[in-house]
Symmetry: C2
Subunit: 337 residues, 2 copies
DNA sequence: TCTTTTTGTTGAAACGTTTCAACAATATAC
DNA sequence: GTATATTGTTGAAACGTTTCAACAAAAAGA
C-alpha cells in the first residue's frame, strides 16, 4: 500500500478540523453541519481518493466487522458451499469473513481460534473437531461470540445450528426398510463427534423400531482421516461376510464417493443386489449408473441461521439458540425396491 | 470480546514501562534486557493471559499479515481447492486470508478489492472477471501488491500464474486425433476472458496442424452464468446436426458436468460413438460409465507460486513474474480409441 | 437590551501498539 | 580519578480514527 490520505490531510486541504471531516464522512451530526462545508469536505475527499483506514477505525471503535470461520476443510464441497452461503449472508451486513481449515485436528483448531481472537474478530462460526470442549469453553470464558455449526457437544450449552442427524439416519433406514431391505449396513467414522454418533443412533433406532436385529458387523467404522482403503475394506466386509447386507447407509459424501467407486468395480448390481443411501448431496454421485439416493442437508438455512444468530448475539446477549434442522431424503435409483 | 489485558496492564503489574513489556514480548533488544525482568514480564503476561491486539499492532506497523483472495465462487471445487492450497501456504508464513466471491461480476469484484484495500490487506490474490482491466490498473496505481491467478489480461503487464491453456487444449485435441477422431467439437464459454479464448485457440490450432477443417458449428459457446440448458442445447447441436461430431472437448468442470449428465440420457455410447475430454479434474465424473479423460491443472503449484510471488513482492519490488504452467492430460476411458 | 437557544466548529484525549531518543547507573579503560 | 562504554530502562510521540466537551457566533425569545 502506498497512499496515505488521512482525515488530517483532507482537513488541511479543506481548511477545517479532522473532527468535522470525520463527522461528514460518516454522516454524523448531519443537522448541525453546514451544507456547504459538508459538500466541500466530500469533494476534497473524493478528489483525493480518500479511503478510510478500517484498521484505525477498528482500534477506536473496537469493532472489526470481521467474522472468523473455522471449517474442517474448505476444499470439501460441504464446507465450501456452506462458506459461500455464509459469505453472502455476512456481506449483506457488511461483514467479511476470514477462514481456516482445521483438518479435524484439535491443535490446528485451537490455533485458528486463537489467531482469530488476536485479530479481534467480532465473532466466529466454527465446526470444531473432536475433543474441542475445553477450547470452546475457553472461547466462552473469553466472551468471544460464536456459533457452532454442523456438530455439537452435549456437555456444552452453547449456540449451534446442526442437522437432526438421528432423524436423518432414521429416515434413510426407514426408506430402505420400506423398500424391502432387511439386512442394512452402515459405514461411518470412528470418532467421538456427537453428530456422527447420532447418525449411528438413528440407524440403530430405525432397525430396532422395525424389530430388525442389528448384526454386530453391520456397522463399520473408518478413520476420519482420509482413508480410502479402509472404506473399501468396509464395503468388502459388508458384502462378502457370512451375512451379507442388501443395503448400506453411507455416513458422508467422502465415504459415499469411495464406497461407490469401489462398488462400481465389483460384480454387484445396484439397486438389485444392493441399495445405497448417503449423506450430503454430492454431484459426484449423479453419474453412477444408479444415481444415489441421498440425505439433503438444508445448507442454506444452516449458514444463514448461523450468521443471523451470531449477529444477534453481537447486539444483545441472549439465551443460547440451539437449532436442529430436519433433513430431506431424496430417493433415487440406488434405493429403488 | 471482553478482556482488555494491554501492555499497560502488564507493565503496571510488573512494575516496568510498557516499552519494556513490548520489547520482551516481541523478543527485541534481548541482549540489553535483564533476564530476570524479562522472565517476570513473561510470567505476568502468561498469568494474565495476555493476547496481543493485532489491530493496534497493524495500525502502528502498517502491516496486517492478511491477504485478500478474490475468486469467482468459493463453492466451485476448482476455487475451493485453490483456496485451501493458498490457505496453507499463507499460514506457513503467518498470514491469514480473507476471501470473497465475485461471481464473474465486475461490480462485485471491484467492491471486493476496494473493501480489501480499506482493510489494509498486505496483498491480494485475484481471479478477476471479464473487463476488469481498469480496476486492475487502479490496484496497480494504488500500489497494492497483487497476483492474478487462473486468468490474465494481455494488455496488462502484471504478475500472474496461469495455466498454459492453449497448450492444454492442443494436447487434448491431439490426443483425440491420435485416437482416430476426426470431427472434434468443443463447448466453451461466451466470454472475452483470455484464458478461455486460449482454450479455443489451442483447439483450433491443433485441428489446423492436422489439416482438419474446423467446421463453424463445432465450437459452441454458452453463457458463463450457470446455464445448464444452454449446455444441453450445445451438446444436442453437436451430436444431431448434419455433420455430427465424434468427440467433444469440454472447457470447464461445470460444462463437463452438465454435458455428461445430458449425454448420459442419450442413446450415445462413450467412447464408441463419442469421445470426451474435459478441463479440470473433477471427482464427479469418475463414476460415469466411461470415466472422463481430463486436463489436470497443477493447482498446488499455482497456489503456492501465487503466494510465493506475492510475499516476494511485499519485500522487494521486482519485475512482474508471469508464470504459465503446463497442464497434464490424463487419458481415461472416455477417449479410448 | 439581555438572556437563552440553536448552529457550526474545534481541541484534545483515547484506542493498544511500536520505537526513537534520552537517561541513569554501572562497568571498563586510560 | 576522569573519561568512555555498556547495561537497563523509560517517556513520549506516532499510527488514523472517533467522540466528548467546549466554545463562539448567530438566531430567537424575553
Amino acid at each position: 500500500m502506498a497512499r496515505k490520505v488521512s482525515l488530517k490531510v483532507i482537513a488541511q486541504k479543506a481548511g477545517v478540523s479532522t473532527t468535522l471531516v470525520s463527522y461528514v464522512l460518516n454522516n454524523q451530526k448531519v443537522n448541525r453541519i453546514n451544507k456547504q462545508t459538508a459538500e466541500k469536505i466530500r469533494q476534497v475527499a473524493r478528489q483525493l481518493h480518500y479511503r478510510a483506514n478500517l484498521v484505525a477505525k477498528s482500534l477506536k471503535t473496537n469493532k472489526t466487522f470481521t467474522i472468523g470461520l473455522v471449517v474442517a476443510d474448505i476444499s470439501n464441497p460441504f464446507f465450501s458451499s456452506l462458506a459461500r452461503i455464509i459469505e453472502d449472508a455476512a456481506e449483506e451486513k457488511n461483514y467479511i469473513v476470514i477462514f481456516g481449515s482445521s483438518d479435524e485436528n484439535l491443535e490446528k483448531f485451537s490455533r485458528l481460534t486463537d489467531t482469530f481472537m488476536n485479530r479481534q474478530v467480532d465473532g466466529m462460526i466454527i465446526a470444531p473437531p473432536e475433543n474441542a470442549e475445553q477450547q470452546i469453553e475457553y472461547l466462552e470464558q473469553q466472551q468471544v461470540p460464536f456459533v457452532v455449526v454442523d456438530r455439537y457437544f452435549p456437555s456444552l450449552n452453547v449456540d449451534y445450528v446442526v442437522l437432526d442427524n438421528t432423524d436423518a439416519a432414521r429416515q434413510a433406514v426407514n426408506h430402505l426398510i420400506d423398500g424391502g431391505r432387511k439386512r442394512i449396513g452402515m459405514i461411518t467414522y470412528r470418532t467421538g463427534l456427537k453428530h456422527l454418533a447420532d447418525r449411528r443412533l438413528g440407524y440403530k433406532k430405525a432397525l430396532h423400531e422395525h424389530s430388525i436385529h442389528c448384526n454386530e458387523g453391520w456397522c463399520r467404522e473408518v478413520g476420519i482421516g482420509n482413508s480410502k482403503s479402509e472404506i473399501e475394506e468396509a464395503v468388502h466386509a459388508l458384502l462378502f461376510s457370512a451375512e451379507p447386507v442388501d443395503a448400506i447407509l453411507l455416513a458422508s459424501n467422502y465415504i459415499a464417493n469411495h464406497a461407490v467407486k469401489y462398488i462400481n468395480t465389483l460384480p454387484v448390481k445396484v439397486p438389485l443386489d444392493l441399495a445405497l443411501v448417503c449423506f450430503d448431496e454430492t454431484e459426484s454421485l449423479d453419474l453412477f449408473y444408479a444415481p444415489l439416493s441421498y440425505i439433503e442437508q438444508p445448507l442454506e438455512v444452516m449458514g444463514q441461521e448461523a450468521i443471523r444468530i451470531l449477529l444477534n448475539k453481537l447486539e444483545k446477549k441472549e439465551e443460547p439458540v440451539q437449532l436442529s434442522l430436519k433433513a430431506k431424503l431424496v430417493p433415487r435409483e440406488s434405493s429403488r425396491p
